[in-house]
């Protein structure tokens, strides 16, 4: 009985995780500018990771594999937001202004900033 309940719970978690991953992926493609896309990315980085890994751990039971899965989940939850922070910081540093709509949407704006100077004389 408990096995069945755990099974159903883990399948529900896995399905929800899959849905979260999909939503994050679509959001990363459809949202208008960089700072909004970070939100979509963070959904797949944290929520989906949590759901999918807990789902798999419930399936795996209490083994060495589930310990490893737990470690992977922990590291992903630590590193994902950190990487996103680093990225947003790098974007802000090189002058990509956050704002509504498609602002800051010069093609390859980050590098184009100092490139325009080099290219203009030609």
């Amino acid at each position: 009985m408990i096995d069945l309940a755990l099974d159903i719970l883990s399948w529900i978690l896995l399905t929800l995780g899959g849905v979260c991953v999909l939503i994050g992926g679509i959001g990363g493609l459809r949202l208008p500018n960089f700072y909004t896309r970070i939100h979509a990315a963070s959904l797949t980085d944290t929520m989906a990771t949590l759901l999918i890994f807990i789902g798999i751990i419930l399936q795996a039971g209490f083994t060495l594999a589930s310990l490893k899965l737990f470690a992977i989940m922990l590291f992903l939850l630590l590193t994902g937001p950190t990487a996103t922070y680093a990225l947003a910081n790098a974007a802000l540093l090189s002058g990509l202004k956050p704002g509504p709509g498609r602002s800051g949407l010069k093609p390859d704006a980050g590098t184009a900033k100092d490139k325009t100077k080099e290219n203009s004389p030609e």
Binding site: L78, T79, Y85, A86, N89, D108, K115
Partner: protein, 330 residues
Amino acid sequence: MIYIFALFLLTLLVITAIAIVRAEDLFVAVILTSIFSLLMAINFFILDAADVALTEAAVGAGVTTVIFLCALALTGDREKPQKEGRKGGQKIALVIVGVLALLIIYSTFDNPQLGDPDAPVHQHVAPWYLEKTPQYMDFPNVVTAILSSFRGYDTLGEVFVVFAACIGVLFILGVSPPRKSMQVNVKQSGLRHHLIPQVVGRLLIPFIVLFGLYTQFHGEYGPGGGFQAGALIATGVILYALLEGEAEALRAVPRRVLLGMVVGGALLYGSVGIVCMLMGGAFLDYSVLAADPVWGQQLGILIIEAGVGMAVCGALLSIFHAFAARERVS
């Protein structure tokens, strides 16, 4: 089912490769290269090569990107647009490589299909390796057994190639760079004032090094070994260098320690072979190292894997420092 995944991933691989070559911004090309490496690792994993996938992960995720970015910082990251006169030459090149690809594709129809158990590759020595590993070495990872014992000569050669490449980089970048007035402030280098990466990075470094040691000493039982461990530990130290500045990392692991690791690792490998000869066996025949040949094999493999790990870690770190130090001065 998993083959369908592989199909998808291989198609993505081709698309990414074409995008890398078409990208005019070299920085974008380097970023796409890391996607290429991830895709490659998944494909290796699906094709049953867990050890190779781990190597690609350890090398491709950290070291390659960092070294490319260091080089880009020194050379500039924009490809100049091609002159009109060269466009014709490019078309000829496109035709030539297209014909080449078609020829290779045509010739592959004589190849055995993916997964064919009767392919000639599987008939020669591989079954013998699979059969004899439990008997001679008594541990489960056949890849490690072949790498370090059955084909030990080969690996010795590879370690010396890594050694030679490291020495080459040190020779080329070791000469003093042209003098410039710009001197980046050492206090400001690194990600010192970014609190979140600092804290998380400092938390992660011990785990990366620990995981590297795990792959080093668990290599006989699971995927892993000296090559992967060396690259992983090097990545850990590179992370420290990114967080604290390169000079600080050089103080933690000084240059002479790195050189000692490179030379010592290669020498350790070679000297195990010579000790084998002195004890009455052939070069790199570890069976004579202990009274029980199985124990001898295991001891020899443990030592030479340690040598490989030291050499690879030292070499990758020396290369990184050679690039990063030049960035600091110039």
